[in-house]
Amino acid sequence: MSEPTGLAWVALSFAKLLAIFVVYLGTVAYTTLAERRISAWIQDRHGPNRVGPQGLFQPIADGIKNLLKEETIPGSASPWLFVLAPALAFVPAFVTWAVIPWGAPLPTPWGTISLAVADLPVGFLFILAISSLGVYGITLAGWSSNNKYSLLGGLRSSAQMVSYEIAMGLSTIPVLLLAGNVAMGDIVAQQQATSWNAVLLSVAFLTFLVSAFAETNRLPFDLPEAESELVAGYHTEYSAMKYSMFMIAEYANMMTAGAFISTLFLGGWDIPFTTWDSTGAPSALKSAATFAMLYAKTLFWLFFFIWVRWTLPRFRYDQLMALGWRVLLPLLLAYIVLIASVLLALDAVGIGRGGAYVATLFGVNVAVVAVVAFWLDRGRLVSPAASRLQVQELERLRQVAARRAAIAAAGSRGT
């Protein structure tokens, strides 16, 4: 079956856009409710359960409240950028949805269509490029508010997101090595042909997960808003719908990150333990089932983000930077070399993409994960300021201090 052309293509693209927009926005709205209820359950509370059955209309009530609230713009804020910043955070969070393939191709009377809004040949690069634009909104919000807390939040955010973009980009390189292509569809197809990348590239999967937390500004890496230090960080001065847009952008980014992790490492819309979904003629049932599969995977990641948020305390800033630059970066550089060598070696030995191939890669990954876990799990603090003070070192410091005090005392006697 061929792809639709002309007017049918425009109409179908528009329909896809509308459908995915509705699904995304609805999920984002209900993620805010899920966050509040899950956090409540974790803390032995009930959470919002008054608006509608089980609080299900709470997002609607919140939306109405935020639309009707008074908006304040600080007198000394930069007026244009202050208004522009929420939109700059909001738009990239939405645009990244376009390239994620949400299911098996759907047959229509006009031709078979892909379930990604825009099936770009460079879909993967598109996500990396657009998601890194989100930092502009946050940084400009912090700067234009003309508030020290906002500015600190914006600065932290820019440093954090730029640092973790590197870890994120590097942890996806092994995926590209395996897939040999940057189109999202090909990455999914490669995982269907061999095995999920979470098995083949566990280390990349785990580091990508850590960087995803940092990229979405979620706890334990939510330093840009760190309410215990920075009031509310970059959106301290924002109120009503502008504030709400930052929140929506955060949850939209979470959902994008969840869908992205699922696509890169958990087989995308692949239904495990069956080849029914990826072989044979496309059908509407297959599209629906695979869509449900990817949606379920995404919901799992949303739950995981919320679960981790209400479990871990916030990292200190130097620890965050040390983790990104001194742990993840060298680890991933070494890992890329390792994976590339293993792939070359497998190629040279002549092992095709079958059981032995999967087993070898999985074994290599288990070994690396074990080594890293062993190294990390020795009571070690990832921080430039975390070298444990030795007793001799302490003694030496005390001697230096005593000598200085003696010199100072001698000097004061002399005058």
Partner: protein
């Protein structure tokens, strides 16, 4: 002068990222699925009010529905906040009764002296806390309002039984 750095030795399991993260996730998940919640969902569920809780007042009545008050004037005298307004009256049989009995609940400090001092056990502070009104003058309770209250009243502190057992 000397650097006083205290080096705390902590067990490795407590300061290790992976083990503490995983055990933390397990703890939060246990609470997540635990149906026991500590919230009291207020309008439907309520905490019991303490027997000696002192809230807004209530005037007890005799069997024929009249206030028990004999307008002796002890409660406005003892009131430290001066919030009770009493104008006594007397009927043909020589029975004293209050012509005006008003308590300004905004001035009241809810000490309960009026209840303690009352010889007729007429005025009481109540075991009651839901007092919202839409205007300030509704907070001056007159005699009709005080007698029409139906909530429980405070049990006074008994010196012979200080813990109220």
């Amino acid at each position: 002068m000397a650097i006083g750095v205290k080096v705390v030795e902590r067990p490795t399991g407590e300061v290790s990222y992976l083990r503490s993260t995983l055990s933390g996730l397990a703890t939060t998940f246990r609470h997540l699925v635990d149906p026991h919640k500590v919230t009291v969902q207020y309008p439907e569920q309520r905490w019991p009010i303490a027997p000696r809780w002192r809230g807004t007042h209530r005037m007890l009545t005799t069997e024929d529905g009249k206030a028990k008050c004999v307008a002796c004037g002890l409660c406005p005298t003892v009131c430290p906040a001066n919030c009770i307004k009493l104008v006594p009256g007397e009927d043909e049989q020589g029975n004293r009764y209050p012509l005006v009995f008003e308590i300004d609940e905004f001035r009241c400090i809810f000490c309960g002296y009026c209840q303690e001092v009352c010889p007729e056990e007429a005025i009481h502070v109540g075991r009651h806390f839901e007092n919202a009104e839409l205007s300030r003058d509704r907070f001056v309770y007159d005699l009709a309002r005080l007698t029409s209250q139906t909530h429980d009243v405070c049990e006074l502190w008994d010196p012979a039984d200080p813990k109220g057992e």
